[in-house]
Symmetry: C2
Subunit: 369 residues, 2 copies
């Protein structure tokens, strides 16, 4: 495959780690990065070391990181919160800022911008794929960002690491527009749904009928807790007593109380995760046969449980069995988000170059499974 160029929208946890991991991957070159304050573009390839060093501790975690990867994603996503009309909606309480300049502008490669997303769109001819590493301030934020790329005449790959089923539905509603624009949108390409639904799609290949897919994750988040408050808030929304709206309204103190009530270890069952709809889209099984749960420990960096994908089905010769995929406990959620995300990004570019447009889930990018 030819060289793939990509941009990151958002230089928080996911965006930064994607830039960093791309340094280790063949054939992917970061050429643009932005947050809400500015943008860096270099078609010869960004100097990732400089950009990360200059902006370290100078990033914006956003007021609320709903929807960005749970076991999934370091949800300290920054990103431009520029709205459709170009107005910026900065919640300054969410900004962690130690440098003189805000966010990405601290890098010598970046310049301030009133509309950094538009700057990326304007550079779109030289960008094969755009990783939307944005916090999802509102749950239609990513879909609305996709609209901007359509309106701006971009044709290439857009890829996110979201996990909520409802966001996939909103993107699906835009499928015709994305196809007409020549955009290939890959949704949910982080650890989960991305990595783990890919594993489920593979594991299902022994079977002619899949009975159940069980995705069970463990995350230890002690040292990352401060940077991942958005993830914790998002996860709390999955507890039976809460939903997205009530969790959004919780004060930090109330969240601390909930964490204390659970002694720092919160277990989740039957989460609303897009794994189900993405596996159904890929023809692996019915959405109803997918269950997602896990354990988050905010007081230890050790995973409280092993992240495991179990696929149970029946073989063509009538045997019932379970294939399993397990992640080593030492693999961080950041490692499990960004490696797969870049892999799916490259797969998306291949599809895009072949003229396949519209919305795809990670499992649909697996080999014809």
């Amino acid at each position: 495959m030819d060289e793939t160029t990509f941009a990151v929208l958002g230089t928080g946890g996911i965006g930064r780690r994607a830039l960093e991991v791309s340094q280790h991957k063949d054939g992917v070159t970061p050429v643009a990065a932005c947050d809400r304050n500015g943008v860096a573009v270099d078609f010869d390839g960004l100097d990732v070391d400089e950009l990360l060093a200059a902006t370290e501790g100078n990033i914006d975690s956003g007021p609320n990181d709903d929807d960005v990867a749970a076991d999934g994603g370091a949800a300290t996503g920054d990103g431009s919160t520029t709205t459709d009309d170009g107005e910026t909606t900065v919640d300054s309480s969410g900004v962690k800022q130690h440098g003189e300049q805000r966010g990405v502008v601290a890098s010598a490669q970046a310049r301030p911008s009133d509309d950094p997303i538009q700057d990326v769109i304007d550079a779109g001819d030289g960008i094969d794929a755009v990783l939307l590493a944005l916090p999802n301030y509102e749950h239609d934020f990513i879909p609305r960002t996709a609209d901007r790329f359509v309106e701006g005449g971009y044709s290439g790959v857009l890829i996110d690491v979201l996990k909520r089923s409802r966001v996939i539905d909103m993107l699906e509603d835009r499928s015709d527009d994305l196809e007409a624009a020549g955009i290939t949108f890959i949704c949910g390409a982080g650890a989960t749904p991305g990595f783990l639904t890919g594993a489920a799609a593979l594991a299902a290949q022994s079977f002619v009928e899949v009975e159940s897919v069980d995705i069970w994750w463990g995350v230890g988040l002690k040292s990352g807790y401060e940077d991942n408050r958005g993830t914790v808030r998002e996860d709390i929304a999955h507890l039976p007593e809460y939903d997205l709206e009530t969790a959004r309204e919780l004060s930090d103190e109330e969240i601390e109380e909930i964490v204390d009530d659970h002694d720092g270890v919160i277990e989740f069952e039957d989460m609303e995760h897009a794994d189900d709809v993405l596996l159904e889209r890929a023809g692996i099984c019915d959405a109803a046969d997918v269950t997602v749960g896990g354990i988050l420990d905010v007081r230890s960096d050790e995973k409280p449980t092993t992240t495991t994908v179990s696929v149970t089905g029946t073989t063509f010769d009538g045997e019932r069995a379970t294939n399993t995929f397990e992640l080593g406990d030492e693999t961080s959620m950041e490692a499990n988000v960004n490696g797969p995300a870049l892999g799916y990004l490259k797969a998306g570019v291949r599809r895009n170059r072949a003229g396949e447009y519209g919305v795809f889930g990670p499992a649909e990018l697996m080999p014809g499974f």
Copy 2:
């Protein structure tokens, strides 16, 4: 993806099971099948039930099934042994024949042919992919069959389930010719290398550097022993005291002796398996970092050990870990060959339609990994 039509060359174990499993898969339609006696072609889709019923117990296991899938493949491959010049080289001792007509010709859909492979080539415009489910009588048999498709003007997908590194090399030597012909050749797409190197490619996504890939398989072959003598012979060639040539010269009695010496349970270490070169091709790790071994029990249908892929590496944030993929012990080798083979077949057709020609391993068909 559009509908995919495919042919099977060889209606032995792999060919028959591929036809059967395709009935359970969306979007793959078998339109041709041949063995050395005849050919069935129906562009509306073969009646698989009729073909399998009519030819049951009426197939040719070939004199020697070298190179066809170990844990891998039901190596009872039949196939035309028609040579390049159209002469048939029938070893009648290898034919199991209970019907009046030989092999596939027992089906009402088939007709006798002096050169069934040429018949499939002639029907090539309506065939997206050809599964080479042939016993590899000589280790260049599959490569020479590929030559025939090139010479015959076929442009589509050729796919095999071979496992020997040297065959991959022979196909690689033909890469330019295949590319010029517009052929996408997928090699080693059965259980191993296919299924398990795909799993290794996926499992590697947590890591920026892979230290080792260990593939360990278990096969219980009691009821399938008679149909899989070729596989057993092939496996014996992996024992330290033997190689392909000396194993080929063993009489059936000598093979029985070797099996008896091992009490029916033969353990293999450091097998020459194409997994290593295929993972290196896909950029996952160096070939030298891949080890393949396993245990074959010809006196039980229970697997003597669990088939496991272990990928050990280092994450971008410096942690060392092992991700694992395990197949349920109840999954038969036939199930683990044919599901993945059809998935890779569909992936190959997608590549072919996008204009990507040449030789590919299964791991290269994974999402940009």
